[in-house]
């Protein structure tokens, strides 16, 4: 019944393939170019490296302090994710299970956090942190990452917890659990699917975050990967392959996580979008 002839179908299939490839080609290009020498790169931008050499990576780590940025990114992301999940789960549990004065207000405040452009808060957050001496500390970035990670996670958790039968809470009470134990030993394990989605999503957001890391951290030793890349760019304006090596290192964990968990990531993104 379709209006397409088989020739038309082949054409559309071809177009789609080109489109898909264009979505990953720049990334593939970046990765293989990072194994070329500067000279090789300028000679032919598109060609594969003749010899796959790792010198750009060695240099990026040695001269560019990449390991330091990498460590900082891991540190900030992991701690933020743990806090986002724990704090978000408790809040979501309370909102999903009980009525209490101010519940609607709290709910709306978090909803608000998903709608406002957070970069509008860059300036006042900077002022506040400066006044309190909170710039350039190991915990500096954790606070905004947690705050901006909470809304979406709370909404994911809240709708999931609502579907978990209340009977399991009541059974736990019978067995002598207190509220803390109910949340973390009974409901938390049941919510594992949505928790893993939330972990991946908040990790990606924290790992990729740029403006707050740019503004709140001036100390080179505390810089994260995305900001670390910018001073790479200045230092080696012309050395593209080296820059690409540093970028590949930044991208690699994200790509691995995506390919391993893409179903969960996609689930989470759509759930967040439909809720938001």
């Amino acid at each position: 019944m379709s209006v397409f002839s088989s020739l038309g179908k082949a054409f559309v299939n071809g177009l789609l393939l080109i489109f898909s490839l264009s979505a990953i080609f720049p990334i593939v290009w970046m990765i293989y170019s990072s194994f070329k020498t500067q000279q090789e790169f300028t000679l032919n931008i598109l060609a594969l490296p003749e010899k796959w050499n790792f010198s750009n990576y060695v240099e990026a780590f040695k001269v560019g302090n990449l390991h330091q940025y990498f460590f900082n990114s891991v540190y900030n992301s992991v701690i933020s994710v743990v806090l986002i999940i724990l704090l978000g789960f408790v809040i979501a549990y309370m909102i999903a299970r009980f009525d209490f004065p101010g519940k609607r207000t709290i709910y709306i405040l978090f909803l608000f956090g998903m709608l406002i452009p957070i970069h509008g808060l860059l300036v006042p957050v900077f002022i506040e942190f400066r006044n309190l001496g909170l710039l350039n500390q190991p915990i500096t970035l954790i606070m905004p990452y947690v705050a901006f990670g909470l809304p979406i996670v709370i909404f994911l958790f809240e709708s999931y917890i609502k579907q978990i039968p209340r009977e399991i809470d009541e059974a736990a009470i019978m067995d002598g659990c207190n509220t803390f134990q109910i949340i973390f030993r009974v409901v938390f394990p049941v919510a594992t699917p949505v928790i893993s989605t939330a972990i991946i999503l908040s990790f990606l957001t924290a790992w990729n975050e740029f403006p707050f890391a740019l503004v709140l951290i001036q100390n080179a030793e505390l810089r994260t990967l995305p900001v670390g890349l910018t001073n790479f760019n200045g230092q080696y304006t012309v050395n593209y392959p080296q820059m690409m090596a540093a970028m590949s290192v930044t991208v690699l964990p994200v790509l691995v996580i995506y390919l391993a968990f893409y179903k969960k990531i996609i689930q989470g993104m759509t759930a967040g979008a439909v809720k938001g």
Binding site: M1, S2, F4, K9, V12, L16, F19, S20, L21, A23, I24, P26, I45, L46, L83, L87, G88, I91, M94, F98, G113, M114, I116, P117, H119, G120, L121, L122, V123, P124, V125, I127, E128, M143, P144, V146, A147, F148, L150, R166, E170, T179, I182, N208, E209, F210, P211, P226, L229, Y240, T250, V254, L255, Y258, I265, I266, M269, A273, V274, G276
Partner: protein, 294 residues
């Protein structure tokens, strides 16, 4: 009745549990919001001298050409994204429901990849694509004999907005694709069966069934598009820094420039407030338009 259940902890206990999360959220979102409001009434360069000037900053803001240029640049990106992301994503998601389309799973997986990458990475990557001498784009144009098309993509104020918008649109097509595909899965097969009996062809089904059934999803998508593009910063900061001149400055970049290059923190706060108000207005308008249609 539910609230009176035996499981229920006291209000005090509930608040105690909410406290840590709420405290961080208040500290980073709510207090800064009020601080921005307060500082927007001052002339202040960050030092100990604060000078109360009432609404002067906002009067300046209303007449500040650069602020409105940056707002219109945000609008440009929003409009292009609504057309480019939502339009292309809808088209592809319709195609991916057709059984004769090959490698559907591959397309879905691959088109989403740019989405999970840092905006900074996308920005750097595309600066390399656009580079005059070592850029992929000019190289490809040369290869296919379109040398006359070669341009200083990020240095020409007339085309720079188009150049910086393409990567932004490109990055997030996959996001809307996934939203649309999961919404389409929820449309009942029976509707299509019925249409088939009535003799409606593939594209007619799309137009008369898929599109109307997806109205709600499209509305959400448009709202996300507006909210997302009002906070665009990283891409532009990395690719052009808002230049040349102010030709690719967006609001968040302008707030950044005013506050951290010129150190006019009072005025920078006013720019931030202006930005927040304009985004909320846009989101509100999009919601109202959606509601009237219902």
């Amino acid at each position: 009745m539910r609230a009176k259940s035996a499981v229920r902890p006291s209000n005090k206990k509930i608040y105690l549990y909410l406290l840590p999360g709420l405290a961080i959220y208040t500290f980073v979102v709510l207090i800064p919001l009020f601080m921005a409001l307060r500082y927007s009434f001052y002339k202040w360069s960050g030092g100990p001298n604060l000078q109360f000037i009432g609404l002067d900053n906002f009067v300046t803001l209303m007449q500040d050409k650069v602020f409105w240029i940056s707002f219109s640049n945000n609008l440009y990106i929003i409009v292009m994204s609504i057309i480019g992301q939502i339009g292309i994503a809808f088209l592809i998601s319709v195609l991916l429901t057709r059984s004769w389309v090959k490698w559907r799973q591959f397309h879905r997986t691959v088109i989403f990849i740019p989405n999970v990458l840092a905006a900074v990475i996308i920005g750097f990557l595309w600066s390399m694509v656009y580079n005059q001498d070592y850029g992929l784009l000019n190289y490809l144009l040369k290869t296919v004999g379109l040398e006359s098309w070669i341009s200083p993509w990020l240095d020409d104020p007339n085309i720079v907005m188009a150049s910086v918008t393409v990567p932004i649109v490109w990055q997030f097509i996959g996001f809307y694709l996934i939203i649309f595909m999961s919404a389409m899965q929820n449309i009942s097969e029976e509707l299509y069966e019925a249409a088939k009996i009535d003799g409606a062809s593939g594209w007619k089904q799309t137009w008369y069934i898929t599109l109307p059934m997806l109205k709600g999803t499209i509305k959400v998508a448009i709202m996300l598009c507006i909210a997302g593009n009002m906070k665009i910063f990283d891409h532009i900061y990395v690719m052009t820094g808002g230049g040349p001149g102010y030709s690719s400055t967006v609001m968040s970049q302008y707030a950044y420039d005013v506050s951290f290059d010129r150190f006019e923190l009072g005025y920078g706060s006013a720019v931030s407030i202006g930005m927040l108000i304009l985004s909320l207005i846009l989101i509100l308008i999009s919601q109202l338009i959606g509601r009237r249609e219902n």
